[in-house]
């Protein structure tokens, strides 16, 4: 145990944290009934990806750090996506006065 601890924080440790965050995000995506919470779960997944990229960037690609640049782009896009998502949510809320995903869910096949 102490041997393992001594190697921390290794690349694998960061990747494990990212994997857990990603899976929690996936679970929230499937199970949330509130549309805002679904958006939050997606943000969690994107953060997991960013941890992955940053960890690879400093452990595998330390001199060129392309992963850091990639992460900056992911952050940018996440901001745009969140803004658009909330605008759509507002416009839907005006029509429907609910944010319950079950009521939007009329998939027939």
């Amino acid at each position: 145990m102490s041997d393992f601890l001594a190697t921390l924080p290794s690349l694998q440790a960061y990747l494990l944290v990212a994997a857990m965050l990603f899976c929690i995000g996936v679970w929230g995506l499937i199970n949330s009934r509130n549309a805002v919470r679904v958006l939050m779960s997606i943000e969690l997944m994107l953060n997991a990806v960013n941890i992955n990229l940053m960890a690879f960037s400093s452990f595998v690609d330390g001199d060129l750090i392309r992963g850091q640049v990639f992460a900056v782009f992911v952050i940018t896009v996440a901001a745009a996506e969140a803004a658009v998502g909330l605008a759509i949510l507002l416009s839907l809320y005006r029509n429907r006065v609910t944010v319950d995903m079950e009521q939007f869910n009329l998939l027939r096949w």
Binding site: A35, I42, L46, V49, N52, L107
Partner: protein, 543 residues
């Protein structure tokens, strides 16, 4: 022990590969280390490769500026600006055809013939979608300027996606296309159906993007680079479970973008809820971009995992063809029926990809081009009918031929072509796909394709029967109260031009399809990426 040794060997090989690679980033560092800032400026960007996109971008900015002057001015001036932008973009694309290949933006973009062909399909689909959307947007009281600007931004993203050769540019252009598509599908904001479609599309799409990103972060960790070439080389020397996992993640996103079963769940709802002209763009432009992405990543990067992704794609293609065409039988709404039929059509195109031969790729390109005209022609007819009557129920088309022969003729020809009846354009596209599949021994795919084609002909014909065979007294109430045809309103003439153009090409293109065949073959011949894949697979066939 041997396992460890061999994996160490593969890692060493991967590192050697990386060292041997002409990595843009590394050469960049070298340049930066030794030289004054002036030296940096001498790196050739080769930015002329994205001139077609620049034309689209300029049109977008001009549209936004004109829109500042008010809605009336925008209605008058936005259409010509869009035509000029997209037209010059198409001309610039034509000039890039068969041009000498040079990676541009230091390896972020490559304008090979494949990219040019798919970008042309996308630009043309935007042009046609815009032609058929003016009247629809005005009648629904949505701001035209912003609509056109967002659609042009979506086009920009889709076009860049076709040529992107770097994970970061793939991601950014994919997201430009996706975010613009979410906005467009929610554009009828007073209609709850439109907003709901947009929300569903956004949630599923963002989740797909996150999955894609997870996959690409693994690819980055595996290769230490974001360039697709380097990743492809690293994948050749490493067959770890990591690569397989990345393959599954990336493939899921690609399948989402081309709406292959079982990643199709969003399609029917989004197609039904979104404004119809937007659906026209999504069903052709967005799908073409998805196929271009699939070719770049799967064929270009995962060449070492040929058997695996081809197996997965075979399963997806069989499911798409079967489910898409069978469920389409049961639909009562025209848009929903076309949504399922488009799922089936994507399955047909995937046959070409699974083949991986010269003919297979050429058939893909050809079918995408044919699909552009026949599908947009069908959408033009549907939009015209819904503007006149406010309905898109299939049963409301009953007896239409007496009131509106133009829609009846156009829709019939386009649907027949989609079903693959000779001598329409779609027939030649489909037969080429099946021929390529048969030559490559993909018997299962071809047989499923043939059977589902017959099913699809059944539901296409039943729409035509509805329009043509009914007696006048059997016509639907909507058709009985059919308004007089008035082409003088602003926005109706472009709609008519698009409709007649698409229908004419669909009908006559089949007979005169030789140039199209040549075009598709040149597209494949002028793409080193595809040529390598073909050479590899023929080597495999021999050995």
């Amino acid at each position: 022990m041997t396992v460890g040794a061999s994996s160490a060997a593969t890692v060493a090989a991967a590192q050697r590969f990386q060292a041997a690679m002409p990595d843009m980033g590394a050469s960049l560092l070298a340049t930066q280390a030794m030289a004054a800032p002036g030296e940096l400026l001498n790196l050739s960007l080769n930015a002329s490769a994205v001139l077609p996109e620049a034309a689209v971008l300029l049109a977008m900015i001009a549209t936004l500026l004109v829109d500042l002057a008010g809605e009336k001015v925008a209605t008058r001036w936005v259409p010509p600006i869009c035509y000029i932008g997209l037209g010059s973009s198409l001309v610039l694309l034509a000039l890039q055809w068969n041009a000498p290949l040079e990676p541009s933006f230091l390896g972020a973009f490559l304008a090979d013939n494949l990219a040019v062909a798919f970008r042309a399909v996308i630009a043309l689909s935007t042009l046609l979608s815009l032609l058929i959307s003016w009247r629809y947007a005005e009648k629904s009281g949505t701001p035209v300027g912003e609509y056109a600007a967002i659609l042009l931004a979506a086009t920009l993203g889709a076009m860049l996606l076709c040529g992107a050769t770097d994970l970061v540019s793939v991601f950014i252009s994919l997201e430009t296309l996706s975010v613009a598509s979410y906005l467009l599908s929610g554009y009828m904001k007073r209609d709850a159906r439109s907003s709901e479609a947009a929300l569903k599309y956004l949630l599923v799409g963002s989740a797909a993007a996150a999955v894609f990103l997870y996959g690409s972060s693994l690819l980055y960790g595996l290769s230490g680079s974001t360039s697709l070439d380097t990743i492809g080389l690293a994948l050749q020397s490493s067959t770890t479970p990591l690569a397989a996992l990345a393959l599954v993640f990336v493939l899921a996103t690609v399948a989402f973008k081309i709406a292959a079963v079982p990643f199709h769940q969003w399609t029917p709802d989004v197609y039904e809820g979104s404004p119809t002209p937007v659906v026209a763009f999504l069903s052709v432009g967005s799908k073409a971009a998805g196929f271009a992405l699939a070719l770049r990543i799967l064929v270009g990067c995962f060449g070492a995992f040929d058997d695996q992704w081809k197996l997965l794609f075979t399963v997806l293609a069989v499911l798409s063809m079967t489910l898409g065409n069978v469920v389409a039988l049961a639909q009562t709404s025209m848009k929903r029926m076309l949504a399922y039929s488009s799922i089936g059509q994507a399955g047909f195109v995937m046959i070409g990809m699974v083949c991986g031969t010269e003919d297979g790729f050429a058939a893909m390109v050809l079918y995408m081009a044919a699909y552009l005209f026949m599908n947009l022609g069908a959408f033009a007819c549907i939009i015209l009918f819904s503007i006149r009557t406010g309905s898109d129920r299939i049963s409301d088309y009953a007896g239409l031929y007496q009131k509106d022969p133009l829609i009846t003729l156009g829709l019939s020809l386009c649907l027949l072509s989609l079903g693959g009846i000779p001598p329409m354009l779609g027939f030649f596209g489909k037969i080429y796909l099946f021929f390529a599949g048969w030559a490559n021994h993909q018997y299962l795919l071809v047989v499923v394709g043939l059977v589902t084609s017959v099913i699809s002909i059944y539901y296409y014909i039943s729409v035509i029967k509805m329009m043509v065979v009914k007696e006048p007294q059997e016509a639907s109430d909507v058709v009985k109260a059919y308004p007089d045809v008035n082409w003088s309103l602003m926005g109706m003439q472009p709609l008519r031009v698009a409709l007649i153009g698409c229908v004419a090409i669909t009908a006559v293109g089949g007979i005169l399809s030789n140039p199209l065949f040549q075009w598709a073959n040149t597209a494949v011949a002028g793409t080193p990426l595809l040529q390598q894949a073909i050479a590899l697979s023929s080597l495999k066939g021999l050995g």
